[in-house]
Symmetry: C2
Subunit: 192 residues, 2 copies
C-alpha cells in the first residue's frame, strides 16, 4: 500500500492526501478494474512509440496522420510537442501532416539544436517529399529562435518555409494588445 501511494504521488498534481485517496479507491474496487488500470499503464509504455516519419506519439508506425491517404502529405506543420497537434486539429482547417520537434531551442536550459528531433524532417524535405513546411512553434523567445534555426536549416533544400501569424487574437479588443503583438500585427498586415 505504501509503495502504491508513493508511486501515485509522483504524478503531477497528486499530493500525499490525494495519493492516499486513490490508493484506497483502488483497494476497494474490484480486481478487474485494478488489473485493467495496471495493464493500461504498462501498455502505454510498452506499445507507444514515436512515428519514424514525424516523431508523433503513436501505437502504429507510421502514425495515423503520416498513413492517411486523404491528407496532404506534402504540407508539413512543425510543432514543439505532440499535444500541439491537438491544438491544430481542433481548428478543423488544416489538412496536411505534422512533424514534432519534442522541444525548443533554449540555450539557458542547455537545449541545443542537437536535442531537437530534426533529422527525419530534413530527410523528408531533402527527398523532395515536401512542398511547404509551416513552422508552428510558439511566438515565444524559444519558439522564435527554433523557427529561425529551422528556416536556416531548410534553406539549402529550397522548400517553401512559412511561419504562422503573430497578431491580435480573434475576438479580442486591440486596446488589450501589448506593444510587441500590436507591432507584429501591423507588420504582418495583409491585403484585403
Amino acid at each position: 500500500m505504501a509503495r502504491l501511494i508513493e508511486e501515485l504521488r509522483k504524478l503531477p498534481g497528486i499530493g500525499s492526501k490525494n495519493a492516499q485517496r486513490l490508493a484506497f479507491h483502488i483497494l476497494r474496487s474490484n480486481g478487474e478494474d485494478a488489473e485493467a488500470l495496471a495493464d493500461a499503464i504498462r501498455n502505454l509504455k510498452a506499445k507507444l512509440q514515436l512515428c519514424s516519419n514525424c516523431n508523433n506519439i503513436t501505437d502504429v508506425d507510421p502514425c495515423v496522420y503520416c498513413a492517411s491517404p486523404t491528407r496532404n502529405q506534402r504540407l508539413v506543420c512543425v510543432v514543439e510537442e505532440p499535444t500541439n497537434i491537438a491544438t491544430i486539429e481542433k481548428t478543423r482547417s488544416y489538412n496536411g501532416v505534422f512533424h514534432v520537434l519534442h522541444g525548443t531551442l533554449s540555450p539557458l536550459h542547455g537545449v541545443g539544436p542537437e536535442h531537437l528531433r530534426t533529422g527525419n524532417l530534413l530527410a523528408r524535405v531533402s527527398r523532395g517529399d515536401v512542398d511547404e513546411v509551416i513552422l508552428a512553434t510558439s511566438p515565444t523567445v524559444e519558439g522564435e529562435a527554433t523557427a529561425g534555426y529551422l528556416a536556416d536549416m531548410l534553406r539549402p533544400a529550397r522548400v517553401r518555409v512559412t511561419r504562422i501569424a503573430t497578431g491580435v487574437p480573434a475576438g479580442s479588443d486591440i486596446e488589450y494588445a501589448d506593444e510587441v503583438t500590436m507591432s507584429r500585427a501591423l507588420e504582418g498586415r495583409r491585403e484585403m
Copy 2:
C-alpha cells in the same frame, strides 16, 4: 455639497462613498486647486474638438499627427476609438497617420454605417492623398464587419487596403490559442 457629490458619482468607477471623499477633499483643499480643477473640466469640453481631417480628439485642428511633417501622410491607419491611437503609438514602429471611426458597425445596437465617421476618410482617399489604408479595427465580430464594410467602401477608389494580422499573441504558447485564432494564424502564415 450634495450637488457636487451627485455630479462626481456620475463618473465611471466612482461610487457614493468615493464621491463623498472626493467632495470633502475639494472642500479642504485651497481655493486655487479647486478653481484649477473646475477650469480644466470646463476647458476640456470647450476647447477639445475633432480633427477635421482624421476625427482624432485634439485642441488644435488639424491634430498633431495630421500636421506632422515627419509622418507619412499617405499611410492611414483606421481605428475604432481615439484611445486606440495610443495602443498603436506605443509600438514605436508606426510612422503613418490615423483615422478615427468613433465606433464600429453593430446592427444589434442600432449602429449602422451612417453612424461611423467615414466621410473625411473617403474624401482623403478620393483626392488621391493616400497610398495605403490599414484597417486596425479589433478582430471582434463588430470590428471585422466594420473592416469588411470599409474595404468595400474604398474598393472603387483603387487604394491599397490592408488588415492587421490576427494570430497567436507574441510571447504566448500556441497550446493556449483558441480554434479561431489558431486557424487564422495558419491561414495568415507568411514566407520566412
